[in-house]
Symmetry: C2
Amino acid sequence: MSLLVVGSVAFDSVKTPFGEVDEVLGGSATYFSTAASYFTKVSLVAVVGEDFPEEHLNFLVGRGINIDGIERSAGRTFRWKGEYSYQLNEAKTLDTQLNVFESFHPNLPESYRKVPVVFLANIDPNLQLEVLKQVEKPKLVACDTMNFWIEGKLDALIQTLASVDILIINDGEARELAQEVNLVKAAKKIMAYGPGVLVVKQGEYGALMFNGETIFSAPAFPLEQVFDPTGAGDSFAGGFMGYLATCNEIDDVAIRQAVVYGSTMASFNVEAFSLDRMRALKQEEIKSRFQAFKALTAFENI
Amino acid sequence: MSLLVVGSVAFDSVKTPFGEVDEVLGGSATYFSTAASYFTKVSLVAVVGEDFPEEHLNFLVGRGINIDGIERSAGRTFRWKGEYSYQLNEAKTLDTQLNVFESFHPNLPESYRKVPVVFLANIDPNLQLEVLKQVEKPKLVACDTMNFWIEGKLDALIQTLASVDILIINDGEARELAQEVNLVKAAKKIMAYGPGVLVVKQGEYGALMFNGETIFSAPAFPLEQVFDPTGAGDSFAGGFMGYLATCNEIDDVAIRQAVVYGSTMASFNVEAFSLDRMRALKQEEIKSRFQAFKALTAFENI
């Protein structure tokens, strides 16, 4: 099945203990669609400014991504600037410039409206709802969100949650959304809002997936070189949703494997700045790391 | 094989968001030997004061633990007082009274000296070395340590590490011991000191086990009720070493399963204050939770 994503396409400036980059290609929808493009056909909805270079659009097209839904508006592209300490687990945001994103209202091209799998990346839940109104009976809808919307747009977010099958957020966000420290309890509260499946990303510790009463735990891949965690969560979601879009039946095993494919894509992404690792990534490497996750977690019949 | 442990037997006073207990049974060797007693015969080496009640000794004997190596000294028993916030991931130590532990020098009963599996719980590395001098060619030696000894007794600790097969510590300690933030790099540095196997406990996130070039990752069991994390690490070590002591061959699969048995015992321990959950724990519950770990981590052939 093909996959629709709405989110940000942006310029990131990032500093980690291992280096620094200035105004490189970034944004949630960019990371998501690049990771997902290894699995299925992706249609991207976003807005960029007049300053956004053809080169970056060509990269996306080169990955087979449909960019008909990228609107070019008067003004500057969304910019984010952040810094990581040696712990690498959380970015300190130094600057956010919404620019063209400030007045963005997604308007889906006709060809996008029947896409069966939809991912609403981390944007204003009101925009997420606008997208949902424009798609025709999708088979599977998932979304992301962040503390900013939990704190500022809770009502709209709860409306979005009522319409999605899967929510993918990090552990801090899950705790804040549920107002509950214990993750198992928090998951139950969040799933009561709508999503039957909740994926809780835990950064370097991996991810927990709640599916009704069952829980699946996947580690992050232990890496000797982590260069830049920017985009790890979006790459995770891209691998996760990209794999699910290839499944005939979206049952518990499929969702578990999707979590591992998500972790696989995230693990590659953090090996370099921006999308640089993805530029060189091969299908065989993805297969091989998925196998490595088995070796990492098996404790019988190895 | 039977198992020898040296460590503390103590009184703990603990406050968590869910309650408070005063001068209850605690100590690294207590948690360790109780958890290990579900797997094998345990011989305990420790010191208690004149104030230590028969009732606690009877509990240990009731678990089949050999307490011939518990010395009763003039003075008061070791006491620890700590508090946990809602996060429950790290105790804030409010008070430590070494008491009889201050002048303790382990003196192994004759019957202990040929025990084939040895665990040196978290005590002064000089005492760990004293114990190693008194045992005759053990087949397997493991140890624990903590920041206090890494900072204050590094030379003795490095001597201990040169004599052990397995080191079991938490992630913060691993990073401090190796002076390296990246855990994969830290593991390599630490294993160069001696231990062929390193188990890194990550609290609520589980554990990583490094065995030469291979890595195994096990989650912590997701619990809806965590009452008191005190003793989780020692219960982990007890389940881990207890299971290994039952294995004819200590190969990679055995060590992986031992990690899961360790996580199993830790997951029970945190369900109540002190050793209260262990007092009621049944073999069938251990088996059943070990199986639950498979369901938690499997992503094919479920």
